[in-house]
Amino acid sequence: MKREPISDRSFGRPGAEPGDRVDPQTLRVRNLNARQLLRGGDLEGPNRSAHLEGADFERHVEESVMTTTLEKAVAWARSNSFFPATFGLACCAIEMMSIVAARVDVARFGFEAFRASPRQADLLILSGRVSIKMAPIVRRIYDQMLEPKWAISMGACCSSTGVFNNYALVPADKFMPIDVHVPGCPPRPEALMHGVLKLRKMVQDDPDMGWRERYGARGTEEILTTSPQAEAVNVALAGDAAGA
């Protein structure tokens, strides 16, 4: 059926001025009809003469349709459905588990889908102390995650080496970008929750550009030379820390 432009339609409602008060029942019918029109449908039957018109219709469109940019819509969706990596290091990991449990229930905000593979995760919660032996592995896990990705440093140890502050530990900022630091030893689940919500706000407010853009780290990419085989460094070899 060919559709006419809205302004050309004859909305046979004799004597009615635009913006007149109507009874709720009629308004409801008109609302439904207007929705039908917005969805691209057409009006049939007895309701044909009872739909919105003029200023009423404009107002209805304004109230029921939200316009935004694609970036903002994507940021909204992303920020409400983080997939954290199932990655526990030490004490904080236990408290990280308890934000999933019943009391704090991070599922209210869409964060409960912990993913065991870094390739399916977009949030790395560093929960605990990062030793020097563990640091290359943590970095590798972060590199394996797909953009866009974020990282939370949970607890004092991986933010500043905490109470230990000795030869064995390394703060996470030394080897990877961290978006939110959550203080505490270990932080309460509520504190981690607060950190997660801060991150949510951050993601909602700023369009994601990848972590290198976010932290001005352009130019730090490890660019493969002509022959990857010849130049590759096996990080698993003992004593060879150049590639680690």
Binding site: L89, P118, S131, F164, N166
Partner: protein, 419 residues
């Protein structure tokens, strides 16, 4: 082409039996079948931390396991040498992060014996209450995460619900949920606050029923039974020769428990049983820990009912801080306070090993003093570390799925292993 790629491309869509005929797959009885080395961890959800295992597989059967540790090495023992005795407690607590009261107890017990300070009876009972609550909490986390490994998701929520109640109690008495620093050399830092006993009684009434429910959910579940019963048993003699203690040894039928064998902190006052298993398989390990929760509840009940009046920390001002109100009136108290906070107390030269029964076995703290206010050496005999060496004995010859279940029932805490 690398060996791995060649093998990968040799896999076809032909029926499985045909592929196995030429010996390229893993035939169970075929000794010429190829061995496959599989890296497992350190980032793996079933390793309960950052344990790394090099597993040698023949088909699906585990032939060898080589644990690689050290991924959360924190240098706690070395850090302890640089701190005065009372400042060591917070770092020591963070070793085995599920049994922080036990870490503090082992260290404080060792130092108290070296200084020959007497711990008041009330402090001992308060310690027992917190130790046993900690044991329940540790077992709850073990049960929740182990059930997750076996695919039972809902147990996690039940266990963490009860864990929150226990942590609320810890928070009432000390202000912290984990790593509470409640135990001090000579007693505990503060008396339990008003309302603690009522909340604890409520918990104690509730808990046995909850454990009944856990048992009802898991022990009647065919999947859990199939995966636990009869898998990876190890007899008591082998376990003893490997130095294994705790629920793993008791599951094999040896009722060794330091709370009975060598009572500390007034454990001789309480009436409780030692749950033991019969064959030492994964089911026994599960059942023993579950039964231990009932016994811990009984101990806490008795300790709460029989809680004696008196001081909660020693009156010896050379070791324990004077109460706040004394500082305004007594010059002597002020001097003691100053000395304790700046230098700390000195410990006579000597060395001592103080073992206690942690949720995972014998947790011993070795302290050597050179007469100064800082320990010359602090070493922990952590049960997770010792128990881990029994792992390859348990899982050799088992299927790789049973390896996961065995690791869950082993309950290693990597913070304690690596320290």
């Amino acid at each position: 082409m690398s060996e791995y790629r060649r093998r990968e491309q040799s896999i076809t869509l032909a029926p499985f039996d045909e592929q196995l005929e030429d010996g390229s797959g893993g035939h169970d009885g075929d000794t010429t079948a190829e061995l496959l080395t599989l890296n497992f961890g350190p980032h793996h959800p079933a390793t309960h931390g950052v344990l790394r295992l090099l597993v040698t597989l023949q088909g699906e059967v585990v032939r060898d396991i080589k644990p690689i540790i050290g991924y959360v090495h924190t240098g706690i023992e070395k850090t302890a040498e640089d701190k005065s005795y009372w400042k060591v407690i917070p770092v020591i607590e963070r070793m085995d992060y599920l049994s922080y009261y036990f870490n503090a107890m082992a260290f404080c017990g060792a130092v108290e014996t070296l200084v020959e300070v007497e711990v008041p009876k009330r402090a001992q009972y308060l310690r027992v209450i917190h130790l046993e609550l900690n044991r329940i909490m540790s077992h709850l986390v073990w049960l929740g995460t182990s059930a997750l490994d076996l695919g039972a998701m809902s147990m996690f929520w039940y266990c963490f619900r009860e864990r929150e109640t226990i942590l609320d109690l810890f928070e009432m008495s000390s202000g912290q949920r984990m790593h509470t620093r409640y135990f001090q050399v000579g007693g505990v830092i503060e008396d339990i606050p008003p309302g603690f006993a009522e909340k604890l009684r409520g918990f104690l009434e509730e808990m046995p029923g909850r454990v009944d429910q856990y048992g009802a959910i898991l022990s009647a579940n065919e999947i859990v039974l199939q995966r636990l019963r009869g898998t990876c048993p190890l007899d008591a003699d082998t376990l003893l020769s490997l130095g294994v203690t705790g629920p793993l040894l008791r599951a094999a039928g040896n009722p060794w428990d330091l709370r009975k064998a060598d009572p500390y902190s007034s454990y001789e006052d309480f009436d409780f049983k030692i749950p033991v298993g019969t064959v030492g398989d994964n089911y026994d390990r599960f059942a023993v820990r579950l039964a231990e929760i009932y016994e811990s509840v009984k101990i806490v009940e008795q300790a709460l009912e029989g809680l004696p009046e008196g001081p909660y920390i020693t009156e010896d001002r050379k070791v324990a801080l004077p109460p706040r109100h004394e500082l305004a009136t007594s010059m002597e108290a002020l001097i003691h306070h100053f000395k304790l906070v700046t230098e700390g107390f000195r410990v006579p030269p000597g060395e001592l090993y103080f073992p206690i029964e942690s949720p995972r076995g014998e947790l011993g703290c070795f302290v050597r003093s050179d007469g100064s206010s800082k320990p010359a050496r602090v070493h922990m005999r952590d049960p997770s570390f010792v128990n881990l060496q029994a792992f390859s004995h348990m899982a050799k010859g088992a299927y790789i799925a049973d390896l996961i279940a065995t690791l869950a029932m082993l309950d290693p805490i990597l913070g304690g292993i690596d320290r």
